[in-house]
């Protein structure tokens, strides 16, 4: 056993009460083992990881229990001794590599300081080691790239750098806290494959903390399920996924969207018609920049980025159209243009055969719901004011009618109208997203554009919101454009699906057909890299489409 946790209790002492984030946990991992910990937000899985290397922040404290690392209890070590273990014996990788690398220091500085903190070697030797380590995680031209700053790397590359830093001192144990959650499927598959390979090669033990069970299926040897600060079930991958014992594990597995429940509708009534749409994010031109561009040999540096290239699409009345693609493919831009938030550069958009444009927004019929329910609701307004604001401004109702009006939409979205005088912070993430949907519905739209509305939510909450969307689609005959990077969610909910890649729709068709028999090679690559709880090896199959 490289790590043995015995009766660990980590509590947070707040002014109101004591939060038992980790409550009496026993956990073992042997050297070279890859162990997954799954649970929803608030289950204490991250706190457990931070407890191991004692990086807890106030007011968190280990109150009881022992953590034996190589047979020695490390909960009793002082800060100085702990420092010599961190990064040397136990490394950590965090969720968002955008945040875990210091944005103003070069990759070189950040890698070399990790080496020099634990080894008495020269700067040059340390640099060689760093370059070597970057090559190991698959970064090309490592010797040149090491001089770059984090923002010059894509999300996947940054996470590779974080992994390289974690591995650089050949630790015995790596704790990875949701390291692929912020990444696209193809990138995620590469990172999973890479981490597994490197850990097996170096005989490094790995604790992989995630909310996504399907990621674990191909990666780990054992899975522990956490719920409310306790480990409710531990076992081999096959045991847990195929034969779950605990009721919570069963619920978690059942919440994963599977298959497709919606058939393509046999209707040919187009509610929205998009013809040859193009959107360019232009760089700002000034007199001086024009002057110098004129003289410049290397003109492509200043060329604008095309977010959407000559895109045509029909959206049928009453359907759920899924739009999938990886970050940067232009799917959110498309949604924003249809709803009139962004201006298009060329092309036409027709709503009910009438042309709509950004300049003169004529109708409230197309509404949008955004990804993050924490920032899309004004924290200083009551729910009733949030939902009734637009209807009052557009004279659908007057102020006296708002209470009755708002309760109708809150009921529709599954929130008790008794709560309408509360503020957004008093609600959970899932409830907030329901409020955001209610707000969009309050002006009686016929098209609802949902931009990644379940990405920030836990699986069980996600399932509830998806069911709400399905219900609204059925009962109100609402046309829904469902934009998401998550293929299984789109497959589950949509009638038709459009696959976007670099500003173009590369495949469009009946969801069932696209997901079972994809015809375009990009769709195939996306599906091949999708983690699946049925398969027990990592689906890293394609090198055709890489990060760029």
């Amino acid at each position: 056993m490289i790590l043995e946790i015995k009766n660990l209790k980590t509590h947070f002492f707040t002014r109101e009460n004591i939060v038992k984030a980790v409550d009496d946990i026993n956990f073992n991992i042997s050297s070279g083992e890859i162990h997954g910990i799954a649970g929803e937000s608030g289950s204490g899985k991250s706190v457990m990881g931070l407890s191991i290397i004692n990086l807890l922040q106030e007011p968190g404290k280990i109150v009881e229990g022992k953590i034996y690392f190589n047979g020695k209890d490390i909960t009793k070590l002082n800060e100085k001794k702990m420092k010599s273990i961190r990064g040397k014996k136990i490394s950590m990788i965090f969720q968002d590599a955008t945040m875990s690398l210091n944005p103003i220091l070069s990759i070189e500085t950040q890698m070399i300081e990790a080496v020099l903190a634990h080894n008495k070697i020269s700067y040059k030797e340390a640099k060689n080691l760093a370059v070597q380590s970057l090559i190991e995680v698959g970064i090309k031209d490592a010797e040149i790239k090491i001089k770059n700053y984090p923002h010059e790397f894509s999300g996947g590359m940054r996470q590779r750098v974080a992994i390289a830093i974690a591995l650089i001192n050949k630790p015995d144990l790596i704790i990875a806290d949701e390291p692929t959650t912020a990444l696209d499927v193809t990138t995620q598959a590469q990172i999973l494959y890479l981490t597994q390979k490197l850990c097996k090669e170096n005989n490094t033990a790995l604790i992989w903390i995630t909310h996504d069970l399907s990621v674990l299926s191909g990666l780990v040897d054992k899975i522990s399920i956490m719920y409310n600060g306790k480990i409710v079930e531990t076992g081999g991958v096959d045991n847990i996924l195929d034969n779950p014992q605990h009721s919570y594990t069963k619920k978690l597995i059942n919440s994963i969207p599977k298959g497709n429940i919606n058939e393509e509708r046999k209707i040919d009534d187009n509610v929205i018609n998009i013809q040859n749409l193009t959107k360019i994010y232009e760089k700002r031109n000034t007199f001086a920049s024009n002057l110098f561009t004129f003289f410049q040999a290397n003109k492509h540096d200043l060329k604008p980025d095309k977010a959407i290239k000559n895109l045509s699409l029909n959206i049928k009345r009453g359907e759920i159209l899924g739009v999938v693609g990886e970050s940067g493919c232009g799917k959110s831009t498309l949604g924003k243009i249809i709803s009139g938030i962004l201006e298009k550069n060329s092309g036409n958009i027709f709503y009910n055969q009438k042309e709509i444009s950004y300049a003169k927004k004529t109708s409230l019929d197309i509404q949008m719901v955004f990804q993050d329910p924490y920032s899309s609701l004004n924290p200083r307004k009551k729910i009733i004011d949030i939902i009734s604001e637009a209807p009052i401004v557009h004279k659908i109702i007057n102020k006296q009618q708002s209470k009755e009006y708002v309760s109708k939409f809150m009921n529709d979205c599954g929130i008790s109208p008794d709560l309408m005088f509360r503020y957004p912070h008093q609600f959970s993430g899932g409830q907030r997203q329901r409020i955001a949907i209610a707000r969009s519905l309050a002006v009686n739209p016929s098209v609802l554009i949902c931009d990644e509305i379940v990405s920030a939510l836990d699986v069980s909450i996600q399932a509830q919101i998806l069911n709400l969307i399905l219900k609204l689609n059925k009962t109100k005959n609402l046309t829904i454009v469902f934009i998401s990077h998550d293929l299984s969610v789109v497959n589950y909910i949509s009638n038709r699906v459009a696959v976007m890649y670099f500003g173009e729709i590369v495949e469009l068709g009946n969801s069932k057909k696209v997901f079972s028999q994809p015809s375009h090679s990009y769709t195939k690559a996306l599906l091949a890299n999708l983690p699946n709880i049925k398969e027990r090896n990592i689906n890293y199959k394609s090198t055709l489409y890489t990060e760029g």
């Binding site: 290397i53 420092k83 490394s91 965090f94 945040m99 210091n102 103003i104 903190a117 700002r284």
Partner: protein, 333 residues
């Protein structure tokens, strides 16, 4: 064809844009100032002895060019300005620009030493307070900063003189003391006597920016500490020293540099009060005198010089900003 790489090109575009912009701003500013000064009163009433004969009056008006219309006067001013002359002082009968440049080193000396005090003392104090916000020393630092914010400059100046000059006689209370000439300008920070003269006025001027730097550093550290990259740096097993100096301070320096840059310009304006209290022979006193005497050319020249300093400082801040933060490409502004 010019073959320059993208980074240098961006810088070049940025600087060219800035120079064009600055020129336009100066032009608009000169027009505004000129018109405003024209509107506030007739310098003849102040300048000419009331007992002077009518003939003498007309002669003086003609000599000063005040018989021409506003537009003519402005046109003549512009013509001279392009030659680098900003008019002759009515009172001193010398070029206004040389009057100002004579006093500029004294003001700059005062403002820069005040800012240095603010930075050298403020950042460490703010850091101490930010790292352990709950202990007694940190709370005292923060409480002190509130006093520095709210005490009026002239009152603190008088108290400083009372304690350090009158009661204990540590520091002299007025003047610049011995100066050293460099390139035709006189500086007092190079002599011991000069430094003693500089001490009280610069401390007085430093209190407000000091409080600001303490508060900013404190807030920056409080905001940055919980971020993931600090956690990641700790997970790498780095020493506390390295985390604070490399990861934390360098990161929070970005907003501090911006504010210090703005503060520099504000201090030049605020220096008026301190200069008056400590009889510091800087630009501030010159402008007060010129306003009371309606010495138009000096007022115009002073305002243009200040605007120029403002723009120069802002340009330096923007360049520093892009050096500190690699995410900022300077041409995107």
């Amino acid at each position: 064809m010019l073959f320059i790489n993208y980074k240098n090109l961006s810088m070049l575009i940025f600087l060219t844009n800035r120079i064009i912009q600055s020129f336009i701003v100066l032009l608009i500013m000169s027009l505004l100032v000129f018109a405003a000064v024209y509107a506030i009163g007739n310098p003849i009433d102040v300048l000419i002895n009331p007992e002077a004969s009518e003939e003498e009056k007309i002669k003086t008006i003609k000599n000063l060019g005040l018989d021409k219309s506003l537009f003519e006067q402005y046109y003549i001013f512009l013509q001279n300005a392009f030659k680098g002359e900003l008019g002759y002082s009515f009172v001193h009968n010398r070029p206004a620009i040389s009057l100002i440049l004579e006093r500029l080193p004294a003001t700059l000396e005062l403002t820069i030493s005040a800012l240095l005090i603010a930075i050298i003392i403020g950042i460490p104090l703010g850091t101490i307070a930010g790292l352990n916000p709950d202990n007694f020393i940190s709370k005292s630092i923060l409480a002190m900063s509130i006093f520095f914010f709210s005490l009026p400059t002239f009152w603190v100046g008088l108290i400083l003189i009372m304690i350090f000059a009158v009661s204990y006689n540590f520091f002299p209370s007025t003047g610049r003391g011995d100066t050293v000439e460099i390139f035709g300008f006189y500086f007092s920070f190079l002599t011991f006597d000069g430094l003693k003269h500089l001490a009280l006025p610069s401390i007085n001027l430093a209190l407000y920016p000091l409080a600001l730097v303490i508060r900013l550093t404190f807030a920056g550290i409080q905001e940055t500490l919980p971020l993931d990259f600090i956690k990641f740096a700790r997970a790498k097993g780095l020493s506390r020293f390295r985390i604070i100096y490399y990861h934390l301070l360098k990161y929070i320096l970005i907003p501090i540099v911006t504010v210090i840059g703005l503060q520099f310009s504000v201090l030049i304006a605020f220096a008026v009060i301190t200069e008056s209290i400590f009889a510091w022979p800087g630009m501030g006193r010159l402008i007060i005198e010129s306003i009371t005497l309606l010495d138009r050319p000096v007022i115009v020249a002073y305002l243009l010089v200040t605007v120029f300093i403002f723009m120069l400082v802002n340009l330096i801040v923007d360049i520093l900003y892009s050096l500190l933060d690699p995410r900022i490409r300077i041409s995107d502004k």
